[in-house]
Point group: D2
Chain length 392, copies 4
């Protein structure tokens, strides 16, 4: 299978079917256990994914990944994302961190860390957001890394809404290394082992009742100089790089969940009798199907376009923002419609829909709020149109 995934002739035609089937039959039925963090469930899934040749598909083949080029992985990202737990269950959740380490970590750190992450023996987290600072306002970040006088750094500060921090062995932290420099040069990224003295998980934060996000503290944590990623001051450049792909992949995952919601909606509408017909015969129900499908397809085309550009190395800021916003909306629309079609039963945890609703509501805030994307993208668009007009 591994050989299939990175064969010369492109990704196997059956790979999408296999991934989709794995997520639908293995991951989705276990979402409660996975959310509860049951270690057995997680490990059983990893073993099954490995046996099925579906483990870590977009990760380097030399470390045990599938070796799938990023451009080929995009279509699979949606399918893995049909469950919020899919990417973790299939070993591709560490893709962003592995790419960052591959490109920017010093040799020794890279050699020690990447294989562990790819095979799932080590977990990692990425720590940027801070309490009391809007996610879209990097200038407000206050965590610092100051030289310890012997080539290393001392990290002090607090981060929150850090996904998976409690299970992480390493945290990549964005810290201010240049007090008076412009934002673009003021930050650096350091890899911090969670066993380092001074590192602490402060508390779990809930997101509409679900866990998995944490507040963490760095209390004068010493980090050797070899743990610096890229150059001193290059943090924001590295972060932006990661962000473009990160947003695109999350957008694809939201589209996967939106597609799942549309399918669940359709099943209910065609199965549910009402008077002398079916729910599916009602135009107001048909409208819910139509609007959901239209938004899901639009978001998929936009996210695929953005992903293709990002995979080719373009910054694609406008495309990524449009894709992110469209995907979050498509998920909101499709989940809301699916709940509506299920009536009171759709509000029940047993339907699986409240979990999707949680992701949907958070999607319009995380990864840059709607308002941030609307305003920053419009300014970029206006500048582009203005430039074109001047040149034309």
């Amino acid at each position: 299978m591994t050989s299939e995934a990175h064969s010369e002739s492109g990704p196997s035609a059956t790979l999408p079917l296999l991934v989709r089937d794995f997520v639908d039959s293995q991951v989705i039925p276990r979402e409660d256990a996975l959310e509860a963090g049951e270690r057995d469930s997680w490990e059983a899934l990893r073993d099954r994914a490995t046996a099925a040749g579906l483990w870590a598909l977009p990760l380097p083949v030399e470390h045990g990944g599938g070796g799938l080029p990023l451009a080929d992985y995009l279509a699979l990202a949606e399918l893995e994302g049909r469950s919020d737990y899919g990417p973790d269950a299939l070993g591709s959740a560490c893709l962003l961190t592995v790419r960052m380490l591959d490109a920017h970590a010093q040799r020794e750190l890279r050699a020690a860390l990447v294989p562990e992450l790819v095979c799932g023996r080590a977990g990692s987290a990425y720590a940027m957001t801070e309490p009391g600072v809007a996610g879209s306002d990097p200038a407000g970040l206050r965590t610092t890394a100051v030289p310890d006088g012997s080539g290393g750094w001392i990290v002090t500060g607090r981060k929150w809404f850090i996904t998976g921090a409690a299970r992480a062995d390493w945290v990549l932290v964005v810290a201010r290394t240049g007090a008076d420099l412009p934002v673009r040069q003021a930050f650096s990224i350091l890899a911090v082992p969670t066993t380092a003295p001074g590192f602490r998980v402060v508390r779990e934060l809930d997101v509409l009742g679900a866990g998995g996000q944490y507040e963490i503290a760095f209390d004068q944590v010493r980090v050797p100089g070899t743990h610096l990623l890229g150059a001193v001051g290059a943090g924001m450049t590295l972060a932006a790089e990661r962000l473009a792909l990160g947003r695109t992949l999350r957008a694809l995952r939201w589209i996967g969940q939106a597609q799942r919601a549309v399918e669940q909606l359709a099943r209910r509408a065609t199965a549910r009798r009402l008077g002398d017909g079916y729910l599916a015969d009602r135009q107001l129900i048909q409208q819910l199907v139509f609007e959901s499908e239209l938004q899901v397809r639009s978001a998929r085309l936009l996210a695929t376009e953005a992903g293709t550009l990002v995979a080719a190395g373009a910054p694609a800021r406008i495309e990524v923002s449009l894709a992110k916003t469209a995907a979050a909306r498509a998920l909101s629309t499709a989940v809301d419609a699916a709940i509506q079609v299920h009536g009171a039963e759709g509000l029940s945890t047993a339907s699986g829909l409240p979990r999707l609703l949680r992701t949907a509501r958070a999607a319009r805030i995380l990864d840059g709020s709607d308002e941030f994307h609307v305003s920053s993208t419009a300014r970029r668009l206006l500048r582009d149109y203005s430039d074109t007009a001047t040149m034309g």
Copy 2:
């Protein structure tokens, strides 16, 4: 206070302030405990409400209520409803059941039941909805009450999404008493003590993770003939009567919660610094304020109009449906906006907003789904316009 509440000169001008203050300072800070069903918290609140002269304001004064006429109570219903637990904490949640018993129960039952309900010593539930039957499709109800041969009835069937059933001492159940009759004459309402053999709470149902709704079963429960409300076959007429007021009051409560969300939004927007200004300076935030306020005020005017008609005895079906729909939307809009303005913190249970989101999402399904109201109200409107045109 009681004397104030039903004084000749109309409701006291300070009553709204007192109710609002009670809910904001006593109920809202205890919502976690109340949701968890902590008996101490509930009882402490009842005592305080009674001491403050705010207990059971719209209920008959001879049984310990405030004696406020329905028309005067409307404005207070919104304020009590600022918390989902307000009406229960202030003793007015039993208003619909007490009115039904007052108007239709046989003397003995009424005398036994009403004072207990008003003073909060007994709890009640109203059981209409059934598993697998759309709420808007009464023809599909299958619970039956058949004569037991000695003037009583034997009730068999299953109901679900029954609020407060686990704490209820009595359940008013809508049961089919005429197999082949048209819907309007096919049902009757019976008061069933929850201690009766054959009555059973099957399970708690969650609504987006919250409890308080139950599935209950009647397994050949014997009910004496004196427990019949109104005439045999009058069930749907009584239910429709109850529904009109019930929907209006719930609409007012949703508006109360929507107003609370707008206030919380405004507090955050004016307090939160962002760069060189405040969130409140951003037009996209201002738009969230504007749209929420517009919807809340519109819904309030519509619900007040509907309530005034209902209090005067008019069926007001169009007005009630428009008010219900507008209130559910206003709540959805305002809570969504408040969450958005709070960012990731708004997703956290600590902000109180996820609880409002739950109510908001359920509001578009409960009490007749949006789709039901749109379609049934439009048909009524088209008929009215058509009649007017013909006459004109």
Copy 3:
């Protein structure tokens, strides 16, 4: 009739029916001729309105008006407004100007002008907006009135989108009289006869193809000091006063046209066969009815609330803005729905709907754009909420 209109016992119960019937049977069928400015049609209508006792209902009875108090006129304003030409045809279009003159004109001017306006022998226009200046930005206005050294003024400048300027005998012009003063004290209002040398109608402006709006120029027009309204520098105060009522009345007229569109929609939906049923049976059509009706009723309640406050002398800025915005939206929604239900025929001038569409589209720009109202009202709301919180 006049006696009826201002009788002690409030407005006659039949007055609304009479006004509505007059507009529907006399004005609406002649809209093409009225739009073309056919003098015969206008005069014939005035005679008929006078004969029916419906002329100038809210205007002072001593000058030939109906003497209806403002609060009583509000309900009629919607009915007159069912046609854009209704207020002119019924002699109430000059209400704003007459009120302004009554309150602020010097005695001689008032005596000369008011009776002429009320009886319809003279026409007037109100000139504030200027080319190249956003309507919401009074600071940008550049028309000036400078003292002529002998107690009079010399007016110079250009105004546009001035309704009815070509038929006006008098123009009330807002001109800058204090160059360096803050906006609140920088402007004055002067009554300029259109026969004055230097006054000129530059061109007719089209609004989506319709005329009736003009660009006008003041080229050193001399105006005697007796033509000043109120005090020097009081212009913006007078303008704000006029604006509050003006916006409310226009909102009511838009609601009248929205109601007319809903009725036309309903007629078509119930008359039009489609396959084995009627358009009215389709849920997507029912939805158009429901949403239109909901918006129209909401806007009516908001506008009535605003109007009642304005009639009582309150500034009611928030209420007026909400009413204006809601009315413009209700009209847009209802007209759009009516066109959609009529299909291609709804696009045809013969259906009357394109004329309503024109008004609807303009309504979201004129009288303060949506964006202006959203932003300015939200800021006011945030301030109010903030004050309340501080006090509370």
Copy 4:
């Protein structure tokens, strides 16, 4: 140029720029004259387009067209469509008719007609819609073609909303040839010269004030048997074929006009000063840009997907419907936004925006109303999802 257009190596990279530039610099500035039907303007444009090698790009090269394959033409269709008059001015408006004749006309008719249409010497119209029959209800069509006993047909009936009928030399008419057959086999298409006795242009219909659409009558028009397209009874099949491509091309043209509106919006927003900044600095204006761009890009991706499928011979009903609906909405959104940003000036004909508004409003009705597409597409989607579920 012609050689460029159909070169082996695909369409020239500069072709899009040339087309766009031609439409922007030659067609758009002459829209008033073209709408007025000024023959000189039309002919001058045709000569210029021919000289520029841009005439009839997607039409057969042997008849004077550019020979561009359909798949390559799709990107140009949007650019030609930046003006409603672009396709006519560039000679590609007859594409649908030429393809129909090429595929289904008898040899003689094809030989006589196609070259005339391609070079622009003859005009044609396509007549399907009838008065009083919903466009989405072919079963209601009443125009008949009955055999004349000598191999020909006698056509009787009435059609309306027939584009360009007054300038047409030929009309392709859809007529019932099988009274009792199911719709699929009941109709045939005949080519009728507009000089035939009994053919008559009844009147011009306005679409929001614009002309170009006609009602036409066939009063026992005799048509020789050689003018039948395809087989007797194949009319609906041919019509469906034409419709898929027709809808896709019109969708692309609407996208072209939407893109034009976004550009005009951006120009205004960046040029217009307001207080101490520009309109472009306002978040509510930025939102208009963002939402318009998002919809335009989504619609473009959907329409390109649909067009590619249609060009490859797939029916692509779902894709075409989604693209059509999305394009109509994108145009409505972008034009509405552009008008809003221009304020009162945007309502003026001089801004060019009212013309786009006309097209936008009509787009939600023509080519199948929104309601038709929502309902028919949702039913198709529900069927597809249901089939997949059964198979899976």
